[in-house]
Amino acid sequence: MFDLAAGTTIETWIVFGKEKYKFELGAGCTAVMGPDMYPFLQSKQLSGLLGGLKGAAEYEALVGKKANAVSGMRPQSVVHVIIILFVIFGNIVYFTSRRARHA
């Protein structure tokens, strides 16, 4: 059983399906839901998880058919790097201004 979800159906399948009937359950979800689903992967309540665009790209690489998800990861990675740089920049500005205030 594999559930592709943008809502709460994965948890519903775990609670009312997997728990009672003990079948293999895999899931694919949006990235926003990903962090909430990883604990179920660790506890083996999910056999596998495709989390967001990253999960989709990993799946495409696994089956050897690189398509939309893999090409989407390039801008995705660039934007993540930019956000990390902005976070670092913001922290540097914050600590510099704090030091200047206390000096």
Partner: protein
């Protein structure tokens, strides 16, 4: 004067959109078929929605209302074909009123159907009390079915990995470190949320470790949320550049 400039910007943008589509169809980049017009419609609606980034405008309002209407219509059709028709109309209504029906009507469905109708009586002042029967049934059944399963799935099964032995033979060093990290994370975060003890001394230090675990968790959630929102944008940009304009291959 300002209204006029907004009007001209809107008309100019729509005119440019029409010209681009005529060029794409004339040059054969878009097929002159229902597929081609579907792509044009999708591109138009995408641009109309993103036009809100400039400011609220009639094109955005049309796309927004269209989205709400289509979503509602889609939900109604899904509800009819996935639930009402196979679970009520076909097994109960059709056999009751059709002489050609092969199966006998399932009269047991009258009870849940009545409960469903009672729920809609919330809109009637005189009969809204009947809806409480339905809510009582739904809450009672929901609690009875859900509570044992939820406790098992969300608490007991989630505790198991936390109680996994660090060294029981056969593990790699990395998996043992992982188990130790899980133990440290669970204990420190739980201690952080104990507010009946002042966070000083050893408790304070452990709760600070808990804060670090929480911050890393929030960071991961934020990263995934950024990824989720960006993938929607990337999907739309891919559609516009590849399917509509044929720039990407």
């Amino acid at each position: 004067m300002r209204k006029d400039s907004n009007f001209f910007i809107l008309v100019g943008t729509i005119g440019l959109f029409v010209c681009i589509n005529i060029f794409l169809m004339a040059s054969g980049k878009l097929p002159f078929s229902s597929d081609g017009f579907g792509i044009i419609l999708g591109a138009g609606l995408t641009l109309a929605i993103y036009s809100f980034l400039y400011k609220d405008n009639p094109a955005f309002k049309i796309a927004e209302n269209l989205y709400v209407g289509v979503s509602l219509g889609y939900t109604i059709i899904i509800t009819w074909f996935n639930f009402l028709k196979p679970d009520l109309y076909d097994p109960l209504i059709v056999p009751m009123f059709s002489k050609a029906a092969e199966k006998a009507p399932q009269y047991a469905l009258i009870f849940p159907s009545l409960l469903g109708i009672f729920m809609l009586l919330r809109f009637s002042r005189k009969l809204s009390w009947l809806s409480r029967w339905t809510f009582a049934f739904v809450v009672g059944l929901g609690a009875g079915v859900s509570i044992p399963r939820v406790i098992s799935a969300f608490i007991l099964e989630q505790i198991k990995p936390s109680l996994h032995p660090v060294f029981s033979g056969g593990e790699t060093i990395l998996s043992s470190i992982n188990t130790l990290l899980i133990m440290l994370g669970v204990i420190s975060v739980l201690i952080y949320f104990i507010f009946s003890v002042e966070h000083k001394g050893a408790i304070g230090k452990v709760s600070k470790i808990g804060i670090w675990f929480l911050m890393i968790s929030f960071g991961a959630s934020f990263g995934y949320t950024v990824m989720g929102r960006l993938s929607l944008l990337i999907g739309r940009i891919q559609f516009l550049l590849r399917d509509w304009l044929n720039i990407l291959q």
